[in-house]
């Protein structure tokens, strides 16, 4: 770790004291009570607990380039760096840590920054897109409560393209808290398709903070699949800094049992002629809970902005609860902004129509749920992994009632 990171950690630690821990009295955390995990905020993982690479998704290895991060430490040898050096640099731009996130910050961002033990700075050069890059974040050997602070900065040089996958997992049986921060800085006309899989167990808390900074003509497409974790939170800050940027975020949350997911997506339209679209979908049953907040802020100079927020929920029983909160803050006068929210049961007319064509009620439900869920992967590339993700969604919908 470069020496100047010590200064960085100090700065964030200073901010941490000022910002204070959010609680349900804070508007944006009103529906998300984290008091269960704030007592002491867990012991930090130590390097000594690191043993071996996790085994999950080994099947994917042939279809992607993979860098594991275990207990906050990227497993990135010089040999591995050399193998990936045709597309990526790992030793440049280290001083740019915080470039997308520092401006916005938050308690958990500063907690991450002040607790850093290691981090990855990945610079993507312009060139053939190559295989998807898979960055699993794993907590290993947790018998007690443990917290890690994985940190990633991706810098796309002008015109660069990347397919990026992140996931969270743990082993060891203790209560774990992933306090992850990902920053993405997008050079002019760069593109990224960014998939986040959150399939943690019932004793895991996953806070995933994403800070995306977009320059001229860049295109960001984020997709989240949340089908695990206990208290989990996705917080996106997408800043459209220059003209003609496009940002899209699709989320799919399968809420049941102990799961309580909090999604908070903010898009800052700071420049004219940019478009943003967020679509948050949830299927919930069996006491599953969730809150989805969308926020678009259109600056005074950001004329011809086009911002759309959609929220769609299917509640499969009376015990589940999903809150949806679209919000707009518009300072420019020539913009197109809209939001919509729908919540309901599966449509009885659609169910009946399918049954008159020979589908059993159970098959009809599955067809409709899969159709609802498949929005997440509309237009997803990622080669063979794209197909595997589609299968995964199909299996998840099949297992929803189990």
């Amino acid at each position: 770790m470069p020496v100047d990171v010590i200064d960085y950690k100090k700065t964030r630690a200073g901010r941490l004291e000022q910002s204070g821990l959010p609680d349900t009295k804070t508007e944006r955390w009103r529906k998300f009570d984290i008091s269960a995990i704030t007592g002491g905020l867990f012991q930090e993982a130590h390097i000594s607990t690191l043993t071996k690479r996790p085994q999950d998704y080994r099947l994917w290895d042939q279809f992607c380039d993979r860098i594991d991060t275990v207990n906050g430490i990227p497993l990135l040898s010089e040999k591995r760096k050399a193998e990936l050096s045709d597309r990526f640099d790992f030793d440049r731009n280290l001083d740019r840590l915080g470039e997308a996130g520092d401006e916005r910050g938050s308690y958990f961002y500063d907690l991450n920054g002040s607790s850093l033990i290691d981090y990855t700075v990945l610079t993507v050069r312009k060139g053939p897109k190559g295989k998807p890059l898979y960055l699993p974040q794993h907590i290993e050997g947790a018998e007690n409560s443990i917290r890690t602070n994985p940190r990633l900065l991706v810098i796309l040089e002008p015109g660069a393209e990347l397919e990026l996958i992140q996931s969270f997992s743990s082993s060891g049986g203790g209560i774990v808290f992933h306090n992850s921060v990902t920053e993405i800085v997008m050079g002019a006309d760069s593109r990224i398709d960014h998939l986040v899989l959150q399939e943690e167990g019932d004793s895991a808390h996953v806070f995933n903070h994403l800070y995306i900074k977009q320059l001229t003509g860049s295109r960001y497409h984020g997709r989240n699949l949340i089908s695990g974790g206990n208290l989990s939170r996705n917080e996106y800050h997408i800043a459209l800094k220059e003209e003609n940027c496009e940002a899209e975020v699709d989320s799919l949350y399968l809420g049941k049992g102990e799961r309580n997911h909090n999604s908070d997506i903010t898009v800052y339209h700071d420049a004219p002629h940019c478009t943003s679209r967020t679509e948050s979908r949830a299927v919930a049953l069996d006491k599953g809970q969730g809150t989805f907040r969308g926020y678009a802020r259109i600056a005074r100079d950001a004329q011809k902005s086009d911002a759309v927020q959609q929220f769609k929920t299917i509640l499969l029983d009376d015990t589940a609860e999903i809150n949806m909160e679209p919000q707009l803050e518009i300072w420019a006068d020539d913009v197109k902004c809209s939001h919509g929210a729908t919540a309901g049961r599966l449509d009885p007319q659609q169910l009946f129509y399918l049954q008159t064509r020979g589908f059993t009620e159970e098959q009809a439900r599955k067809v409709l749920l899969e159709a609802f869920a498949s929005r997440l992967v509309d237009g997803l590339g990622m080669g063979e992994i794209g197909s595997l993700i589609r299968e995964k969604i199909s299996l998840l919908m099949e297992g929803l009632y189990e």
Partner: protein
């Protein structure tokens, strides 16, 4: 079901009473359909035509109060909607339902294979099904491009009705109940849709055409015409009855009924 004897009644409805949302709509309907017959059920709006269609197809939103329905020797009211479909009963919807996210080809293939499997036939594989589907699409004049689109999503009124007839030809049932399949169609679409129904028509198959207007019957001449008013069949006859209704209107039947 396969062993149904020739000449056996396909559908027999006896004194059927049914309600929706607590309101009695069907007030004693009796009707018999034999294989090979085309029956037209005509009547003004609100007479119970669509309720009859929905009850026959097994819509759980409709409650059967009393009466009996035998279908190919079985008690239809004991069967769930999907079982009726698999036993060869087909409802063409007045308002076909949009299903975003489910492609037409996925929907049709799975529907057909569910029915085939329940009849002990091997499911068609993707290639066989594709060939089979494209031939049926040509028969109803549908663009092949519609196979990749979501079921009825963003289809025009005419496309939706053609899609119902396509499903009729693809699923190849024994009894087709077509609820106002003619409404909202221009004359060319009407001819294509009627052509599809004529292809389906055979000595083994039964058809119930539910319609407000005589127009469709010019293209699909029925064997029997029944007039449904206020939840009852008040008059039955042959195809000449439809013409008489066309010229005299439904009020004529009402007057006859009250006079009689």
């Amino acid at each position: 079901m396969k062993g149904m004897n020739k000449g056996e009644t396909m559908l027999e409805i006896k004194d059927l009473h049914a309600s929706v949302e607590g309101k009695e709509i069907l007030k004693g309907i009796s009707l018999k359909v034999n294989p090979g017959e085309v029956h037209a059920i005509m009547g003004p709006n609100g007479s119970g035509k669509s309720t009859l269609s929905q009850v026959l197809a097994g819509n759980p939103a409709y409650e059967v109060l009393s009466g009996e329905i035998r279908y190919r020797g079985e008690d239809l009211l004991e069967m769930e909607a999907f079982e009726r479909a698999r036993a060869g009963l087909f409802l063409g919807f007045q308002y076909p339902v949009e299903i975003p996210g489910v492609t037409n080809i996925y929907f049709l293939k799975n529907a057909l294979n569910a029915i085939r499997e329940s009849n002990g036939e091997a499911p068609l594989d993707a290639y066989e099904f594709n060939e089979y589907l494209l031939r049926r699409m040509d028969e109803v004049g549908m663009s092949h491009e519609l196979t990749r689109r979501a079921v009825n999503s963003g289809f025009s009124g005419g496309e939706k009705k053609r899609n119902e007839i396509l499903q009729l030809l693809v699923l190849n049932p024994r009894l087709a109940i077509l609820d106002e399949t003619d409404s909202g169609l221009d004359i060319d679409a009407l001819k294509t849709v009627a052509g599809g129904v004529e292809k389906f028509r055979s000595s083994e198959n039964g058809v119930i055409l539910v319609t407000h207007y005589q127009r469709l019957l010019d293209f699909i001449p029925p064997d029997f015409v029944h007039v449904l008013i206020d939840g009852k069949i008040v008059l039955s006859g042959d195809s000449k009855l439809a013409l008489e209704l066309e010229s005299k209107g439904y009020n004529w039947v009402k007057e006859e009924e009250y006079a009689g």
